[in-house]
Symmetry: C2
Subunit: 376 residues, 2 copies
């Protein structure tokens, strides 16, 4: 049985689903000759680790307790009373995380998972890579930081996976990596990479005003608490940057042309969410409606897409043919079209649910299993 030690950073919705998947896959993975040995779990403030990370793991009962505690909104430090684990807080948690990476990285190997949404994890990740650990990310931020950080993280490309940073569990990165390694040059990628904006754009087709569609999306739970986090296009730009960097392009966030769906004067620093939803966004209805009509008269619909071509990444609204896979997209599905030498006239298309804790966690788990040959 191959043992893969795992350290999980981040136990929000995705992290909890991941722990549940790990536990429920025990017998499946045993059949595959693999055992995931969770030696530590962090939230933003604490680390819960097994008593001896070299020999012991957090057992399934403890993992369930972690899930339970976090699902009630309590901090991990509440686990202090349980037996069979150590709890570290604050700077001690940080130091001990690094210590675990040091002790396991070179000896048994360690998969460090970043399932957080934090800007702060990049340093520990870089250290983990340096210490011989594997790294799996669902967190986009470390990969969209400076090129210096990126190069350090991707120093050993086999030791880093991040399927769930783009399109959740959709096999976008895995497929693109295959295309790259087979020497098939990628000319162009076009994607609708935000479930929220995919939903908004397809609802606009029916003539509904933007303000109404966004409010409905918020009610349905499709948007971030502040919908401007989606409407700004920043999240899509991050995904585009990740794909572009995978293609070897030396691009930084600042060089990406991003079309925000709201003007600066309606930004989060200027007006409140409520003000935006009740007074701001209605002012945008008319111009969007005109664009929808113009597109329609061209046999097109509007889509909020990311286009990667040459050395540029562009993010914004595009008219696309009603009859293209992108134009036919409905609801919150993601879609990616990849054009290469092998997929020249007709692209390789990957489509499906591109959000959700379950599928995001599944993508992370598949990444870990995919790296199994790196462990002794």
């Amino acid at each position: 049985m191959k043992k893969i030690p795992v350290l999980l950073m981040g136990c929000g919705g995705v992290g909890r689903h991941l722990l549940q998947h790990i536990v429920s896959c025990r017998s499946l993975h045993a059949d595959m000759g693999v055992h995931l040995r969770v030696v530590g779990v962090c939230d933003s403030k604490s680390l819960v680790a097994s008593m001896d990370v070299l020999k012991e793991e957090l057992n399934d009962e403890l993992l369930s307790e972690v899930c339970h505690i976090k699902s009630t909104g309590s901090p991990l430090s509440n686990l202090g009373a349980s037996g069979g684990c150590q709890v570290f807080n604050g700077s001690e948690a940080k130091r001990e995380t690094e210590e675990i990476a040091k002790r396991l990285g070179k000896s048994t190997g360690l998969a460090v998972l970043d399932i957080s949404a934090s800007m702060e994890t990049v340093e520990i990740l870089v250290k983990a890579v340096d210490l011989g650990c594997c790294v799996v990310l669902a967190n986009k931020k470390p990969l969209t930081s400076s090129l210096e950080h990126y190069d350090k993280l991707a120093l050993h490309p086999r030791f880093i996976r991040h399927e769930s940073t783009v399109g959740a569990g959709l096999p976008v990165i895995a497929s693109l990596s295959r295309i790259i390694s087979s020497g098939d040059p990628v000319h162009r990628i076009v994607g609708s990479l935000s479930g929220t904006l995919g939903y908004v754009m397809s609802e606009l087709e029916d003539g509904k005003p933007l303000s109404q569609v966004v409010r409905a999306a918020k009610t349905l739970g499709y948007t971030e608490p502040d919908p401007r986090d989606d409407l700004s296009g920043m999240d899509v730009a991050r995904k585009g940057l990740i794909l572009a960097r995978l293609l070897g392009k030396r691009i930084v966030m600042d060089s990406i042309k991003i079309e925000s769906l709201y003007p600066e004067e309606m930004g989060p620093g200027v007006i409140s969410v409520d003000d935006f939803l009740h007074n701001g966004i209605v002012k945008l209805d008319q111009s969007i409606e005109e664009r929808v009509k113009r597109a329609s008269s061209n046999g097109c619909v509007l889509r909020y897409v990311c286009v990667i071509e040459g050395s540029s990444v562009q993010v914004g609204i595009r008219e696309v043919s009603k009859d293209s896979p992108l134009g036919r997209l409905k609801g919150s599905d993601n879609i990616v079209e990849i054009y290469s030498r092998c997929y020249k006239e007709q692209p390789l298309v990957i489509q499906g649910a591109g959000a959700g804790n379950d599928t995001t966690a599944a993508g992370v788990l598949a990444d870990i299993i995919d790296m199994q040959d790196l462990f002794p």
Copy 2:
């Protein structure tokens, strides 16, 4: 630099493209820290091997010569006059192939590639697996033979890859493997897995008679020399069986319900290709036309699909909604819809060119690179 010794069986169109890709990817793969060391190439009668497979490889000049000789329709044995290689013929070729697997399997590792269309390779492949080699197939036949053979080939699942057996280089197997390893149960797979039948079915929509469409497809080079090899559905059934076995289903070819597009009395054993194309197939036009019309009145189109569900694999014509990804498929693209817990209402869809020497070879190459961590 990680060295991956490679032995290629089959040098038809795909094999030649693969050798060319290997050579043209030299610097890309060097950047990835990988070098593909081709130690032997076989056609059905001969083996060309380096003088000492442990230390030497067939150099790029020799590989180009192999491609050249095979592209002129000559046998590999013509290479006898070239320096820097040994040529073995007949039973000697077979014995020496096994000898190479023996010498490299356990020591440096060996990737044995079956790019042939032969029924005969399964024995040497089973031996190769047994000797510790990795196996990469574009050949469907060894994987659709008896369950006994299948179990032996798939004994170490990490040591076998076969992306190009289904949908050429389309990342169908890679994606499905990820879904399986993440514990996401697959309920149903529906695919249009034949470029030829995809083309035929979509052309029928416009009201053209079957006979005319098939003759046109043959002229365009879309069909096998005997189009009945496509129309029988056998090739689609093999692909369906491969996917079903990947899902763990214990199925054999004989248990698959296959709808052939021609009746037995028009089979290859009964009438000639010419007779079939000029006198036979026209007799099928009317009934197909009626089915197309009936489907259309239901808002549907006909597709030749493979459906995997529960313990059954079914292959044949189905009515599918015009508005579904399958129904909108045009030309010779392949499409696969995967339904699972994560992709429940809307499937995961993978679509693109599912045939062609270039993309098939690219899929094989990606498989080899994907296995690199198994080599010392």
